[in-house]
């Protein structure tokens, strides 16, 4: 099992990933609050990007509404905590099925009635928008006025209740990102992974080989949605406040797909590398500007747009496939 995870990987790639992990593990010892915040964002985007990638990168189903699953996870866990005092890890056991069910609903509608491609993407946007408007009017979770988690100064980090210093969130997200990478590689190397790739490449040909494409596309959506909801739980307990206008809008969904698109759709390293690249470059340029005394609100989005343009034109497969070729790191299923 363990040996299989490294199968087909050049040694250098394994070593580099190991080095990155060690670096990430000790980073909080050196990083200040600002850098730590950036690193948390990077891990967040690497994780949700990996989850989104299962649907688009593996099974070829474009979702532009992944904020829905983040939001459902966040609201479910937060509401359970605020109203019933149920901790986030137990809340997660509710958040995952809620998000997975929403994914199954969208998947069923789309795949049962052969809604594909762009129309599928529009459907995912539509449901996320429904959720945004719905939660705006749902008084149970505070409506547009927001849902707030009680905040206090904690003497020590409480991992079980996810109350404490950002460093704790950093390590939780680091573990989640590492697990997601390992899990996704295992999926991609298994039977279902081959079937997903076949569906992505040519659905009709996949069906002719006996693959029940409806079933496997449903599995992809459900896993992706369930995985994404965990990021929502972390989001809720990290920020301690939830507003539908901030959690569900399409701009959030677009944010989620940037890391895998920049890093390489359908690759495993792509979402992680992409998150580093886009966060470091856009945030780096922004702070450079502010160091020169230029404060331009929204400039980060401009940098993101420019970066996306460069990647799409210069390396349409993403940064990772290009980098891997340059450095001789390419292997099977990276």
């Amino acid at each position: 099992m363990i040996a299989r995870l490294f199968e087909g990987l050049p040694l250098r790639t394994v070593v580099l990933l190991g080095l990155l992990l060690v670096l990430m593990l000790i980073a909080p010892l050196f990083a200040g609050d600002y850098l730590l915040t950036i690193l948390i964002l990077i891990l967040y985007f690497a994780y949700v990007g990996q989850a989104w990638n299962i649907m688009m990168g593996f099974a070829g189903q474009l979702s532009l509404g992944h904020a829905l699953y983040v939001g459902l996870g966040a609201y479910t866990a937060a509401a359970l905590y605020v109203y019933f005092g149920i901790g986030p890890w137990i809340g997660l056991l509710a958040a995952i099925p809620v998000a997975a069910l929403a994914g199954a609903f969208i998947g069923y509608l789309a795949f049962r009635f052969r809604v594909g491609g762009v129309y599928f993407a529009i459907l995912t946007i539509a449901v996320a928008e429904f959720a945004r408007i719905g939660f705006d009017h749902l008084s149970l979770t505070g409506g547009s006025a927001g849902l707030f988690l009680p905040v206090a100064q904690y003497a020590r980090n409480d991992l079980w209740q996810l109350r404490g210093h950002p460093v704790m969130f950093y390590y939780v997200l680091l573990a989640a990102t590492a697990l997601a990478l390992v899990g996704c590689r295992a999926l991609l190397q298994s039977r279902i992974g081959y079937f997903w790739l076949a569906i992505r490449e040519d659905e009709e040909a996949a069906r002719s080989l006996g693959i029940d494409t409806f079933h496997y596309k449903m599995v992809a959506v459900v896993i992706s949605a369930g995985m994404t909801s965990f990021a929502g739980v972390i989001y809720a307990f990290y920020y301690n406040n939830l507003f539908p206008e901030q959690v569900f809008p399409i701009s959030r969904s677009v944010e989620i797909i940037l890391a895998p698109i920049i890093g390489g759709v359908g690759t495993l390293v792509g979402p992680i590398l992409g998150a580093f690249v886009f966060e470091f470059i856009s945030e780096g340029l922004r702070s450079l500007l502010s160091w020169f005394g230029v404060e331009a609100p929204g400039i980060k989005q401009v940098f993101l747009g420019a970066m996306l343009l460069v990647v799409v034109v210069a390396m349409p497969e993403g940064v990772w496939p290009w980098l891997a070729r340059k450095l001789g790191l390419s292997g099977e299923r990276t």
Binding site: L197, A205, A206, R207, G210
Partner: protein
């Protein structure tokens, strides 16, 4: 020999046009059977009804003793019919080996078992040396053989080949004929070909059904079919004059 595939009076209409008109034939277990006909004869429509792309308007299709007409393509494949596409549809970004592994995984739980089966199939189809190439990098003859390899990897009882010779040069056609003959002889695999190229069919098929304007006009051994006046008139005759 009992019939593995029995097509019984199937018809298909597209609006006013009768594409296939009450066609019947039976493919015995272990046979190589061909359906030929000029362009527009209804070959592909007939093929698509067997492959589950669309259901017949009338008549029935049985395979291995059970009715299969109206089943979706994936279920047809699971019943034991492996098909190819006339216009090849490999999974372009996957390697040749991974393309075939997808097929081999239909009846195998583990990738390692599927890989073992895949290597066998690739050797048989002369693709073993190209297994690490992306399918998108293959030439047309190689892609055609990849189609057959992928279908073969699903362990079918019958191969359903849609104009698998179309677009091949004579030497490539001969290679394909040899491979298919070997497959049939050594593994007892039943093969149903739908072909436009007459030459390949003559060398390969034990029995031939001739379609014209959607209807079956002749059936028999290759020798019988080429001597049939109706066939000469509608098919060979038309080509001979042109």
């Amino acid at each position: 020999m009992s019939a593995l595939l029995a097509v019984d009076g199937v018809s298909k209409r597209f609006r006013g046009l009768v594409a296939v008109d009450r066609v019947s034939f039976a493919v015995p277990q272990g046979a190589i059977f061909a359906v030929i006909g000029p362009n527009g004869a209804g070959k592909t429509t007939l093929f698509n009804m067997i492959a589950g792309v669309f259901a017949p308007d009338g008549g029935g299709i049985t395979f291995g003793g059970g009715g299969i007409d109206g089943l979706p393509p994936d279920q047809i494949c699971r019943r034991g019919i492996g098909r190819t596409f006339q216009i090849v549809r490999p999974f372009p970004a996957l390697t040749v080996e991974d393309n075939v592994i997808v097929g081999a995984l239909l009846h195998r739980r583990h990738v390692a078992e599927a890989r073992a089966r895949t290597q066998e199939v690739l050797r048989r189809l002369d693709l073993y040396d190209k297994r690490a190439q992306r399918a998108s990098a293959l030439t047309l003859p190689d892609r055609k053989r990849l189609e057959v390899a992928r279908a073969l990897a699903t362990d079918p009882k019958m191969l359903l080949l849609d104009e698998v010779m179309a677009g091949l040069r004579p030497t490539e056609t001969d290679r394909m004929v040899t491979i298919l003959k070997q497959l049939n002889r050594e593994t007892g695999l039943t093969i149903l070909l739908i072909e436009h190229v007459m030459q390949a069919v003559m060398a390969l098929a034990a029995r031939i059904l001739v379609l014209h304007h959607g209807a079956a006009i002749a059936e028999g051994t290759p020798e019988e079919v080429v001597r049939d006046p109706a066939v000469i008139h509608s098919y060979l005759g038309a080509e001979a004059i042109a």
